[in-house]
Each structure stands twice: as structure tokens, then as C-alpha cells.
């Protein structure tokens, strides 16, 4: 595999982890978050600072996970105070605040960000490590979905009042979703910092949050494979359509709109339905 291919593979794997992490919060638990890139950013900046201070991957990864998870808990707490309609805006606000602080903080590199992040001790094995992380993330999310936690999340997403009347303490479960999802985003952030070698504010802005949400929604809210599929497509598409580079964002915008307009359930469930239909047709 050439350097270009491994680079793309790494990026796809990171985006898969990101999509899966938001899927925990928004897809499984129904809490629409428009600020998820901030937690990605927390993980990345934490890693950048720690790595430059000399700490190795074995320490930066768990610390990035923790930092993002704690920040996620804080935002989660705040979001509990807000009416459901406003959750999306509140999370968006959290994202902007994160950026606002980062941009004006010299310790975090201000406008320029932090660069020259040292490589991991894994060297050439790093891309494969990232893929392993993505697989682990997928397995973890599948476990959550299958467990009673996923069951409770489904109830909270469907009807909070009904969930509460069954004894499900909805604030606690929403916080759990936030904590798990943001911690996983922190992992993605850590890997991204090593991958790119630099971190800067523009990589964690509102458009990125939208992109991540788009991956989850286009894949199919809650669907693990859907996230993988959508993350892969949306990462590779700009590469495939290099010749339309100028029109890239236009196509992306139209794509988002078309999918929502015509296949709001997401592409993966659509694929499943078509597959079932084909199987049914063959049986008949």
C-alpha cells in the first residue's frame, strides 16, 4: 500500500470513529448534537499538548479520551437544563465557545494552532493501529446497542415521558450517552492529531460538526454499519470527485438535501430494504 492509500485509510478510520461516537449520542439516544466537533477538538488539542511535552501514545490516548469525556459531561449537564427544542442550538453554542476560547488562547496556539506534533512510537504501524481502533469502536458501539443501555437509549430517544414512567432516569442516561460519545470522539481527536501532525481551530468548527452529523444521518440514525458506510463514502467522495473540486461543497450540500428529502431514514436502511426485497423476490 502506498503512502497515499494508507493516508486515506487512516482518515477514513478516524471519520468512522467520529461518526460512531456521535451515533451513540444522536443516533441511539436521540440527542441531536450540533457541536460534536468540539469534543473531537478537545481530544486533539489535549494530545497535541501532551505529545509535545513528551508523553507517549499509551498515555495521550486515555487522557484525550478522559478530557473529551469530562468536557462532554459538562456540556451534557448544561444540555439537561435546556428544553428539547433548544438542545441542538445549545450544543452548537458549546462548539462555538470551544473555538472562541481556543482562538484567543496563546497556550493553545491561538489562530495558528499547534504544529509539529511528534509521531507515535508505532511508526509505520500507526495507520493499522487506527484501523484497529475503528474496529474496536465499532464493536463497542455494537455492544452498547445490543445491551440494555441501548434499549434504554432507544426508549429515551422515542419518548422521554414514557421512559421515565418505566423508571428510566432519563437525565442520567442522556449524560451516559454524552459521556461515552464524547470520550470516543476524544479518541478520534487524539489519532487525528498524530495523523496530521498539527491541530488548528478550523478543523473543529461548526461545518465539521455538521459533517459528522450528516454522516450519522445519511448512514441511518442508530445504524452501526450505516455510520461506517457513510463515513467511508463522505471521506472518499472528495477524492473520487477531485475533478469537480470546485463544485465539491455544492455537491455535498445538494447531496445532504436530497438524502433528507427522499431517503430520510438513511442510506443503510434503504440498502437493507432493497436487499430484503431482492431476497423476497427470489424466494417468490
Amino acid at each position: 500500500m502506498g503512502a497515499y492509500e494508507t493516508s486515506i485509510l487512516t482518515l477514513v478510520a478516524i471519520n468512522v470513529i467520529l461518526a460512531l461516537s456521535l451515533n451513540l449520542i444522536s443516533g441511539l439516544c436521540g440527542q441531536v448534537s450540533l457541536g460534536h466537533a468540539a469534543f473531537f477538538g478537545v481530544g486533539a488539542y489535549a494530545t497535541a499538548l501532551l505529545a509535545k511535552a513528551g508523553f507517549g501514545l499509551w498515555l495521550t490516548l486515555p487522557l484525550a479520551l478522559l478530557a473529551a469525556g469530562v468536557f462532554g459531561l459538562v456540556v451534557g449537564f448544561c444540555s439537561l437544563r435546556v428544553r428539547d427544542d433548544f438542545l441542538a442550538i445549545a450544543t452548537m453554542a458549546a462548539g462555538f465557545l470551544f473555538l472562541g476560547v481556543v482562538r484567543t488562547s496563546d497556550a493553545l496556539g491561538g489562530e495558528l494552532g499547534i504544529s509539529q506534533i511528534p509521531e507515535t512510537a508505532l511508526g509505520d504501524f500507526f495507520p493499522y493501529f487506527v484501523v484497529l481502533c475503528a474496529v474496536a469502536a465499532g464493536l463497542f458501539c455494537a455492544w452498547v446497542k445490543k445491551s440494555w443501555l441501548g434499549y434504554a437509549f432507544e426508549a429515551v430517544a422515542a419518548d422521554e415521558i414514557a421512559a421515565r414512567s418505566l423508571g428510566i432516569d432519563t437525565p442520567r442516561f442522556k449524560l451516559a450517552a454524552f459521556a461515552l460519545g464524547t470520550a470516543l470522539a476524544g479518541v478520534a481527536g487524539c489519532l487525528y492529531a498524530y495523523y496530521l501532525g498539527t491541530v488548528g481551530a478550523e478543523a473543529f468548527g461548526f461545518p465539521v460538526s455538521v459533517m459528522i452529523l450528516a454522516m450519522v444521518v445519511i448512514g441511518g440514525m442508530g445504524s452501526i454499519w450505516g455510520c461506517v458506510l457513510a463515513a467511508t463514502l463522505l471521506t472518499l467522495a472528495p477524492e473520487w470527485f477531485r475533478f469537480i473540486n470546485d463544485y465539491k461543497l455544492l455537491v455535498f450540500g445538494l447531496l445532504l438535501f436530497m438524502v433528507m428529502r427522499f431517503v430520510p431514514g438513511g442510506l443503510f436502511p434503504l440498502v437493507l430494504r432493497q436487499a430484503a426485497r431482492l431476497r423476497g423476490g427470489r424466494a417468490a
Binding site: 445490543k146 445491551s147 434504554a152 422515542a158 421512559a163 414512567s165 428510566i168 432516569d169 442520567r172 451516559a176
Partner: protein, 263 residues
């Protein structure tokens, strides 16, 4: 978690103690007191705006009283949210049905049966197997008579079925007290009759039930004891026949054009 306090058979399970609720100038409930005994089937009646819904919300935990207290097995419920009250054994079936539409009827009830597992996110995360509770859930569905529809989604089901699902779900949490919020609302005469009979039979199996209803005929028929609210105050409390013969109660209702015919 507090150890479950034992209630003597026939002892007081739920105590509404001089409870009042004000919303900035509007008095929804004022000085209401009564107790529900273990094993009782109590009907709570009153014209629109009498405060029945508010009282229900007081018990289920949506609202806290501005005066007085609600006590359950001796412990005051003030300050506990709806989920905590459900965990302590108060189950509620909603007036406007709230099935989880992405789950089958059985899955709806299994989730309710697993209320011990969903007590904390940790325990929920650690438990994967849903099968052990399927049998219990099926029994609840059987009790309400919709076991045949176990694998169907709620979206296509008629209201009568969904109302029974509400009851099944509430039952699956193994409650000490079952609150039924207008379970007969929206049902045709025959359906309402059958559901009322079901409620009576559940009570005969030992479930303590508080029934909030508009449907006077059925409530009179199945509830041995009735409490009537009007304008936020309790205006009657006693055996059904006595209460419904009370002239003050009749006057409160005649304005609604409701019939008080004996069943």
C-alpha cells in the same frame, strides 16, 4: 436504595395529606386529603378542571405540591422525580398512549419488565440478554389480552390495543400502586366495558389501583370506593353508591350533562 417498607395487608399505601397546588394565582388543588389502602380499587372523579389531572401529576411526580405532601408507604415523595417514583413502585399508564413506536408490543413490555436493569446506566451496559424477561412480558400481555399481537408494531394497532399495552407495560414493572389515567377515554362502549372488567380483575388479583376516569358508568360499576374532586377540592369520599347519590355531586355533574344512571 431504601429497603422496601412492608405495608400490612389493608394498611395505607398512598396518603394524600392536605395537598395544595398553585400556579401563580390559579389554585389547581386545595387542601385535598385521602388515603389509598393496599389492595384497593379507588375511582377518582370530577368534572373537567376539577384538578384530577393535577392530582395525578402530583402522585406520579411531574409536579410537586406547593402545600402538603404525598406519602407512599410512609415515605414522602416530595422532591422525587417521576423515574424515582416509578422505581419505588408507582406505575402510571398514560391517558394519551405513549408506546415506543420503534419496538414491538412485546419489546415495549420487556423493557418495562427490566426496570431493575435500567436503574443505572452501568447495570444496563453490563446486561445484554433480553430473553429471560420475555416470559414475564408475555404473561403481562396475556393478562391484558393482547398476547397474540406480541410481535406487531404499535403503529398499526387500534386505540383499544394500545390502551391495553399501556396497562401491560405498567404491570410489567411489578408496581405496588397502579395509576390509570383515563384508560377508557376514546374507547367505544363495548371496548370500555371490557377494559373496565379487566381493571377489576387485575385488582382482584391484588394490584392496588387508582383509576382517574370520566366514564361515570364504568367507574360506578367497578370501583368500590370513589373520591370526587370539584374546583380543586375534595367534595366526596366513600362507597360508590353513596357518593353518586350525593346531591352535591349530582349537581356538580349535571352541568356536564353526564348521565348518572345505575348500571
Amino acid at each position: 436504595m431504601n429497603a422496601k417498607l412492608q405495608t400490612q395487608a389493608g394498611g395505607e399505601l398512598l396518603v394524600i395529606d392536605d395537598v395544595g397546588v398553585r400556579f401563580g394565582g390559579i389554585v389547581a388543588v386545595d387542601g385535598v386529603s385521602f388515603a389509598v389502602r393496599d389492595g384497593e380499587l379507588l375511582g377518582l372523579l370530577g368534572p373537567n378542571g376539577a384538578g384530577k389531572t393535577t392530582l395525578l401529576r402530583l402522585i406520579s411526580g411531574v409536579v410537586d405540591p406547593t402545600a402538603g405532601a404525598v406519602r407512599f408507604r410512609g415515605e414522602t415523595l416530595n422532591g422525587l422525580n417521576a423515574a424515582r417514583r416509578a422505581q419505588r413502585g408507582i406505575a402510571l399508564s398514560h391517558q394519551i398512549v405513549r408506546p415506543f413506536r420503534s419496538m414491538t408490543l412485546l419489546e415495549n413490555v420487556v423493557l418495562a419488565a427490566g426496570s431493575a436493569i435500567t436503574r443505572t446506566p452501568w447495570r444496563a451496559l453490563a446486561t445484554v440478554d433480553r430473553r429471560p424477561l420475555r416470559d414475564e412480558a408475555m404473561r403481562c400481555l396475556e393478562m391484558v389480552g393482547i398476547a397474540a399481537l406480541a410481535d406487531k408494531l404499535p403503529t398499526a394497532q387500534p386505540l383499544g390495543v394500545l390502551k391495553r399495552l399501556e396497562v401491560a407495560r405498567a404491570l410489567a414493572t411489578r408496581p405496588q400502586l397502579l395509576l390509570l389515567d383515563e384508560p377508557l377515554a376514546g374507547l367505544g362502549h363495548g371496548e370500555a366495558l371490557r377494559l373496565a372488567d379487566l381493571i377489576r380483575s387485575l385488582n382482584q388479583r391484588g394490584v392496588t389501583i387508582v383509576l382517574i376516569e370520566h366514564n361515570l358508568a364504568e367507574v360506578m360499576r367497578i370501583c368500590p370506593r370513589i373520591v370526587v374532586l370539584n374546583n380543586g377540592r375534595k367534595m366526596a369520599d366513600g362507597p360508590a353508591a353513596e357518593v353518586m347519590a350525593d346531591p352535591a355531586v349530582i349537581e356538580a355533574y349535571l352541568g356536564e350533562g353526564a348521565a348518572l344512571a345505575e348500571h
